[in-house]
């Protein structure tokens, strides 16, 4: 399963979907970094123009390209600020769950026996609880808020990392290079992290992409239920749930933040699909 980066990138370039996904992701990261400089107003700046339409609507105010919400905040600015929150959520959920999940997977796969049994039992229990339900319970213990929502969503995302890494380790550890390293007396930690882990990266990269999109989606759902980031933070899930009451008078207010979530999640899934095609040798032969 050793793939060099250039080869992966070459395969990716051929996959139009993955390329589109990657371009949107780069654009999204760009907006998250430079959003505050680009946005005409701050995320919480109020104006007298309430519930204005976007520029294609009839009740349009030239100062607010995408309209305003019920207290006169500029929608475009809030969407731009929201991209930062979503990127922040995606990055931290992925780091947190990826780190813990991978570590557990390495331990379970390498040591087997009782260690494996205990870890996998815990993972089974986590997987038996529907993700949003578990996240809701975790958030109600820790209290609502952005950081706690990230922790909750990260916990929910641990099992897939653990299972993928464990399967990879079980496969790799029987191979000769690992046996050789053992006979040379290489320390166990070095065998795990320097010999085995680098050979399990392909499925891990795919999982990371998918975790990013799942993380953003789940965190937005929590915010929508009032358990994630708290107002007045400009977060897409909150904007969506705030706008629900104005669905008849200002339909765009509820449409735009959801569209942003959809586009970002879709772009990560496009990239994930492309990576899977590029990294999975079985699929390659089929083409």
């Amino acid at each position: 399963m050793t793939n060099n980066i250039a080869e992966i990138f070459n395969d990716l370039k051929k996959n139009k979907g993955a390329l589109i996904g990657l371009i949107i992701i780069i654009f999204f990261v760009f907006l998250a970094f430079f959003g505050p400089m680009l946005s005409p107003f701050s995320e919480s700046e109020l104006s007298q123009h309430l519930l204005q339409d976007p520029f294609w609507g009839s009740k349009y105010n030239a100062n607010h390209l995408l309209g305003t919400d019920d207290v006169g905040r500029d929608t475009l600015s809030r969407l731009l600020y929201g991209s930062r929150v979503s990127l922040f959520i995606g990055v931290f959920v992925t780091i947190l769950s990826g780190f813990i999940g991978t570590l557990l997977g390495l331990l379970a796969g390498y040591f087997g026996g009782t260690v494996d049994k205990i870890i996998m039992r815990m993972i089974d229990i986590l997987m038996a609880l529907p993700s949003i339900l578990l996240a809701i319970v975790v958030v109600s213990i820790l209290g609502p808020g952005l950081v706690n929502a990230i922790i909750a969503v990260a916990i929910v995302s641990i099992p897939s990392f653990t299972r993928i890494v464990r399967a990879g380790v079980i496969d790799e550890k029987q191979k000769q290079y690992v046996q050789a390293a053992k006979t040379f007396g290489t320390p166990t930690t070095q065998i795990i992290f320097k010999e085995i882990l680098p050979n399990c990266t392909a499925p891990l990269i795919i999982q990371t992409t998918l975790c990013f999109s799942d993380g953003i989606l789940n965190a937005a759902a929590l915010s929508f239920l009032g358990l994630g980031a708290q107002p007045p933070t400009a977060e897409w899930g909150i904007m969506l749930s705030d706008a629900r009451s104005f669905i008849e008078s200002s339909p765009w207010l509820v449409t735009l933040p959801g569209l942003c979530i959809l586009i970002v999640v879709l772009s990560f899934n496009l990239l994930g699909d492309g990576l899977r095609d590029a990294l999975d040798p079985r699929l390659k032969k089929g083409k």
Binding site: I125, L129, I141, I247, V254, T255, G258, D273
Partner: protein
């Protein structure tokens, strides 16, 4: 096969036990005192408070509380809701019909559309139609359903006025509970077909919202499963023999491609419950999802505990059955899974 089943059941026990411990402990970690919540504005006279706590059994040590919870749960008694004072099991069954009905409608939508989409995409592999269908499926798969539900309401209820915004049936109709399925019960009500019409209109939007992700998964799975089967020797033989294409697709290929599709759908049960939580909240659908969210907000310990336990048990059981079916259909799997 029997040893395999026995081994799997032995493996289930610690997981189920773990779920009960997790449900029990997690709920007690949630801040907020249910006794205070119940006493509410009447204030907390220490004597009243102590008496109430005793009545609820919350003054006993945790281990005793857990033992009581487990013994009762094994007998089908999940305790009494702190808020409604009714048995959790009764309340669960009362609401389960609504969730099951919605879930079945959503799955029906997913399968009836998803399998044909997947088959067409596989047959027209790498054509524009294939790209369009799979692109749309990926959009569906990425859908934030809490937003999708609102957009459906915006289009079909608010703008077009075709469907109601929320609930299972119009308040005009009085329907007695017989099966718990509104679509069936409404037919037995006084207004018969009119009531059924109202119930049918009410279920469409939430079913579509909840079924969108399963639809996308079914379509994608059907396509890849069909592609695998279509590439096999016996299909080539059938083609060489001049068997009509439709017969090849439906009699030979699809039947064999169905096993992985059913497996994936079975394993999706957990995400369907997740879908139920969000969909029911948006559409005010009086099912399990909405009930559990409300109970968490109200710190209704027995309800959350019982709800989590029942849902987790269902997920574990369904996964177990799916595994068995898979092992039965695919003998090679039996040795590998321990």
């Amino acid at each position: 096969m029997l040893t395999y089943i026995f081994k799997r059941i032995l493996n289930l026990i610690p997981t189920l036990f773990g779920v009960t411990v997790v449900a029990f402990i997690l709920i007690r970690l949630v801040p907020g005192d249910p006794v205070m919540l119940l006493l509410g504005e009447r204030g907390a006279d220490p004597a009243v408070y102590a008496e109430m706590k005793q009545n609820l059994g919350l003054d006993q040590p945790l281990l005793i509380q857990y033992k009581k919870f487990i013994t009762n749960a094994l007998q089908g008694d999940l305790g009494t809701s702190l808020i409604s004072k009714r048995k959790v099991s009764e309340e669960f069954i009362g609401r389960f019909g609504a969730t099951l009905e919605l879930g079945m409608a959503a799955l029906l939508f997913a399968v009836l559309l998803g399998i044909p989409i997947g088959v067409i995409a596989a047959l027209k592999r790498n054509s524009l139609i294939d790209y369009f269908l799979m692109g749309t499926s990926l959009v569906g798969y990425s859908m934030p359903i809490f937003w999708w539900g609102i957009i459906l309401i915006l289009i079909f209820s608010v703008t077009l006025g075709l469907t109601p915004v929320s609930g299972r049936i119009s308040v005009m109709f009085e329907v007695d509970r017989i099966t718990g399925f509104m679509l069936i019960d409404s037919l037995f009500s006084e207004d018969g077909i009119d009531a059924f019409h109202s119930a049918a209109k009410s279920i469409i939007l939430p079913a579509v919202a909840m079924g969108t992700i399963p639809l996308a998964v079914t379509a994608r799975m059907t396509r890849s499963s069909m592609l695998e089967v279509l590439g096999q020797d016996y299909i080539r033989t059938a083609k060489a023999k001049g068997t009509p294409v439709l017969k090849i697709v439906f009699i030979h290929a699809l039947r064999n491609a169905l096993i992985p599709i059913i497996t994936v759908l079975g394993l999706m049960f957990g995400s369907i419950i997740t879908g139920a939580i969000l969909t029911e909240t948006i559409f005010s659908w009086p099912g399990i999802g909405k009930w559990i969210v409300a109970s968490i907000n109200a710190r209704d310990y027995p309800v959350i505990q019982g709800g989590i336990l029942v849902i987790a048990t269902m997920v574990i059981t369904i996964n177990f059955i799916v595994d068995l079916v898979y092992a039965w259909a695919n003998p090679r799997m039996r040795g590998g899974l321990k």
